[in-house]
Amino acid sequence: MGFLNALRYCLRQTLLSIARNFWLATASAAMITVSLLILGSFALVALNAGQFLNQVESEIEINVFLRDTAQINDLGREIRALPGVERVSYIAKEQALDEMRESLGERRDILVGLEEDNPLPNSYRVRTANAEVVPAVAGAIEEMRGVEKVRYGQGYVEKLIMITRWVNAAALFAAGLLALAAVFLIMTTIRFSVMARRDEVEIMKYMGASNWFVRFPFLLEGMVVGFFGSSVAVLMLGFVYYYLLLQVDQVSLFFIQLVTDQRILGTLFGGLFGLGVFIGGLASSISIRKFLRV
């Protein structure tokens, strides 16, 4: 019975306290909003940059030009067996000529008469699971019998891989730093608001309040403040991002594809929200700890 009364007291206390410390609570919530907005915007940018690079990488293909004497089917089987190879398609020399004619458009006349003595080789087009394995796969194919030449944009691919690696590492590092900064900012804000009430905590202890009785309303208050702060942040981010999606759709920047995967976005927004609530509660319950020892 005593426990229930105490619990009821704590809940009522939390609401009252927020109402009476309205501006302090609002300031803390705003701080949480700002921190999460910065972190969230960065995460969204990084997410899209990652997707863009992935897309560029997925365009990379290895062209394997074959000698006319090559055992086409055996070679195809061998290539498919290589680790990291995803898709292999055979392009006969006739098809290659057609494609070339296509790409020349108006000036296709220069190809007239080549049908009889087609100088283009048969080839395989190989796609890999990711860009990283391209040089290795290309190297392995080059060793195979019947292979004349291997082309995959040597030099260019290696550079792209380097860039992707750096971007990933830098994004992870920056996101970690920003997350830490956000946590620190929120902690400091809430610690400040608890500090302003340390006398109150001391008196409560002198009145014979147990530690959790003093702490629980503060913990709840921190979580409620975190809840509002991160709700605003997530809603704002969500609206702006959605608006961007619509805009990009309209001007049809076809080469930019924004991340629209519900699951990924959901995880990101949910994570931001959880972080705000969790840090809010944690911060106030940690900040109050040292005032409880009287």
Binding site: M1, N21, E200, M204, K205, Y206, M207, G208, A209, N211
Partner: protein, 229 residues
């Protein structure tokens, strides 16, 4: 109820507020602590309430060594003591009602009983009209009476009152003392630190006189006795 054995309190700044005091206050006693400003009256109250710890000596509360109390036992002890602080220490963000109610809430008393008991006590100290005021909206004397109400509402076994009449007019002071006597008759031990010599002389209760941190006099039915008739 309370025993001090050779208690000395040296504050960190080197002030010896209490110097080798031994003292015994029995259950049901009514005692005044008197002495000039700085004599150590508040320090004695703080030592009992465990707001301060002595530098040397032993303190017993209800026959148990209070210096060995751990967190939970300190909390339990404070719930049984009604402390009236010289500087009030009301919760600034709570109304008079809520400040008094808080003393009951910490012990998990039901809301129904709180709503019944708190107005009763506030009426006893003459604050029935100020129930919903915040401390900053109250005069010094009114704040002091909220503090008194907060101490007596929980039916403590011991009331430690540090200058409970410091901000009150003579009439209200006497009424408050009457209230203390009444509470004392139901068995509650009462210790009052005060400068109100006239009241002390009138009431003929036990008087413990301090000077420079030492007990210079301890009489049943004593008087204030500092150059006043």
């Amino acid at each position: 109820m309370i025993q001090f054995y050779n208690v000395t309190k040296l504050y960190p700044n080197g002030v010896k507020a209490i110097n080798d005091i031994s003292l015994r206050i029995k259950q049901g006693d009514f005692a005044f602590l008197v002495g000039p400003s700085g004599a150590g009256k508040s320090t004695i109250a703080k030592l009992v309430f465990r707001e301060e710890k002595p530098t040397a000596g032993q303190i017993f509360f209800n026959g148990r060594n209070a210096l060995r109390f751990r967190g939970r036992e300190v909390v339990a002890m404070r719930r049984r003591i009604g402390m009236i602080f010289q500087d009030f220490r009301l919760l600034p963000r709570k109304t008079a009602f809520e400040n008094v109610a808080f003393a009951l809430e910490v012990t998990g008393v039901s809301g129904w009983e709180i709503r019944k008991r708190v107005p009763e006590v506030l009426k006893q100290v003459g604050l029935e009209k100020k129930v919903d005021c915040f401390p900053e909206q109250l005069s010094g004397g009114e704040q002091q009476r909220v503090c008194v109400a907060r101490a007596i509402v929980k039916n403590p076994v011991l009331i430690l009152a540090d200058e409970p009449t410091g901000n009150l007019d003579p009439e209200t002071s006497r009424e408050l003392m009457e209230l203390f006597v009444q509470i004392n008759q139901s068995g509650t031990t009462i210790v009052i630190a005060t400068h109100a010599w006239d009241i002390v002389n009138e009431m003929k209760k036990r008087v413990i006189a301090l000077e420079n941190g030492r007990i210079v006099r301890d009489e049943e039915q004593g008087s204030y006795g500092y150059g006043v008739s």
